[in-house]
């Protein structure tokens, strides 16, 4: 086989491996990383951050609670974007958006939701939850706008809230449907 043809075949093989895969799942031609101590260190850090946030939130200190979660999303991550890390970040950002909106920091809430949706690009409870939180954020924004007397913007926020909740419901229904299909017994072979 000529050198040129060999190189061309190799390039085609690599292209076939690279395309059409979820960027948050291992490439088809690359084995997924094993569960190792680095991943566990991050997950432990995540657990600790959320427990700290719980304690701070219970004490009414939402700013410090947010800080604990911020330290997690800003911390170094395990290499290779393991799915667990992406999902933990999505869930963490959903919580950050919720806390930020409670503090009236709607721009921060929007940024957290946008980043969180990048962590959860496929239909999943993580993605559905982010849209649900978006719905709650828009509700709070609507309330704040009405208190300021900005009825028009408040109406828009309400509309966005409804759309977000509808998207959350759609995603969650899709996830439930998929799980039911997975759990269904395989059809018996025809005789």
């Amino acid at each position: 086989m000529s050198r040129t043809l060999s190189l061309l075949l190799a390039a085609l093989a690599l292209a076939g491996c690279a395309k059409n895969h979820d960027r948050h799942e291992p490439r088809p031609c690359e084995p997924a990383a094993v569960v190792d101590s680095v991943l566990l260190a991050f997950l432990s850090q995540a657990r600790s951050a959320h427990h700290v946030a719980d304690a701070r939130e219970a004490a009414g200190d939402l700013v410090t609670a947010l800080g604990a979660l911020r330290s997690l999303v800003d911390a170094p991550k395990p290499a290779g974007k393991p799915p667990e890390v992406e999902e933990v970040l999505a869930d963490t950002r959903a919580r950050m958006a919720d806390l930020s909106s409670q503090l009236g920091r709607f721009a921060d809430a929007d940024a957290a939701l946008t980043a969180g949706l990048e962590n959860a690009p496929s239909s999943s409870y993580f993605r559905g939850h982010l849209f649900e939180v978006r719905g709650a954020v828009e509700e709070r924004r609507e309330k704040a706008l009405r208190l300021r007397g900005d009825g028009q913007e408040a109406d828009r926020a309400r509309e966005r809230s409804l759309l977000a909740y509808e998207e959350a419901m759609r995603i969650q229904a899709e996830v439930i449907q998929k799980s039911l299909l997975r759990a269904a017994p395989a059809p018996a072979p025809s005789k």
Binding site: E25, P31, A32, A33, V34, V35, D36, S37, L39, L40, A41, F42, L43, S44, Q45, A46, R47, S48, H50, H51, A53, D54, A75, P76, G80, P82, P83, E84, E87, V88, D91, T92, A94, R95, D98, S124, Y125, F126, G128, H129, E132, V133, A136, A168, Q172, V175, S179
Partner: protein, 199 residues
């Protein structure tokens, strides 16, 4: 060097380089970033482990007895070598050997399997023990080395969606973090035992 040593197959250069790097890191440990240290501590102290299984208890007891009675056991050899390495300290000899290994010696590195022996030379108990460890590791097949390596037996990183059966509540975020960390903690322990050949 004996004639028998000369006939042994050479250690591949890449493996030799990795081995020397590992030994250098062991002999000259660098500073550990404080954040990394904290995460390691959290991981060691904060990840709950399930009670040991029957097989794990049996294997642990076998290893303990082998160490006490000097009986044969695949993992006991490594532990004995590590213990011997600290029996007599000759830091100067270790440093000379490692420095020589780091620079590389023309001719000696190219030919031998136990390139570690050539580089470390003769003399101290510490150097010989380090070489024994190196040979032990180099002599083992990759599947037997006591580190987790990717293989079909090891649990891989994957989505956590299977852990959850219903839509999320924001108030349940911490409980989800707990569940994910617990589940992957069990996976990590399974991987460690798989890498050690314990089932």
């Amino acid at each position: 060097m004996s004639e028998a040593d000369e006939k042994e197959p050479s250690l591949p250069p890449e493996e030799a380089r990795e081995l020397v790097t590992s030994l250098l890191a062991a002999a000259r440990p660098g500073e550990l970033d404080e954040r990394v240290n904290e995460r390691l501590l959290e991981q060691a102290l904060g990840v709950p482990l399930d009670p040991p299984t029957e097989a794990e208890l049996v294997e642990s007891e076998r290893l303990r007895r082998a160490l006490e009675t000097d009986a044969a056991h695949p993992d006991a050899d490594v532990l004995r070598a590590l213990r011997a390495a600290f029996t007599v300290a000759d830091d100067a000899a270790v440093e000379r050997a490692l420095t020589a290994a780091e620079r590389g010696r023309p001719g000696a590195a190219a030919t031998r399997s136990n390139v570690v022996f050539a580089w470390f030379g003769a003399a101290s108990v510490v150097v010989a023990a380090a070489a024994a460890i190196a040979l032990f590791i180099a002599g083992k097949s990759p599947a037997e080395a006591p580190t987790a390596r990717p293989s079909d037996e090891l649990v891989r990183a994957r989505s956590t969606t299977d852990l959850f059966a219903e839509p999320f509540e924001t108030s349940g975020t911490t409980a989800r973090m707990d569940r994910i960390a617990d589940a992957r903690g069990r996976d990590l322990r399974a991987n460690r035992y798989a890498a050690w050949g314990v089932k």
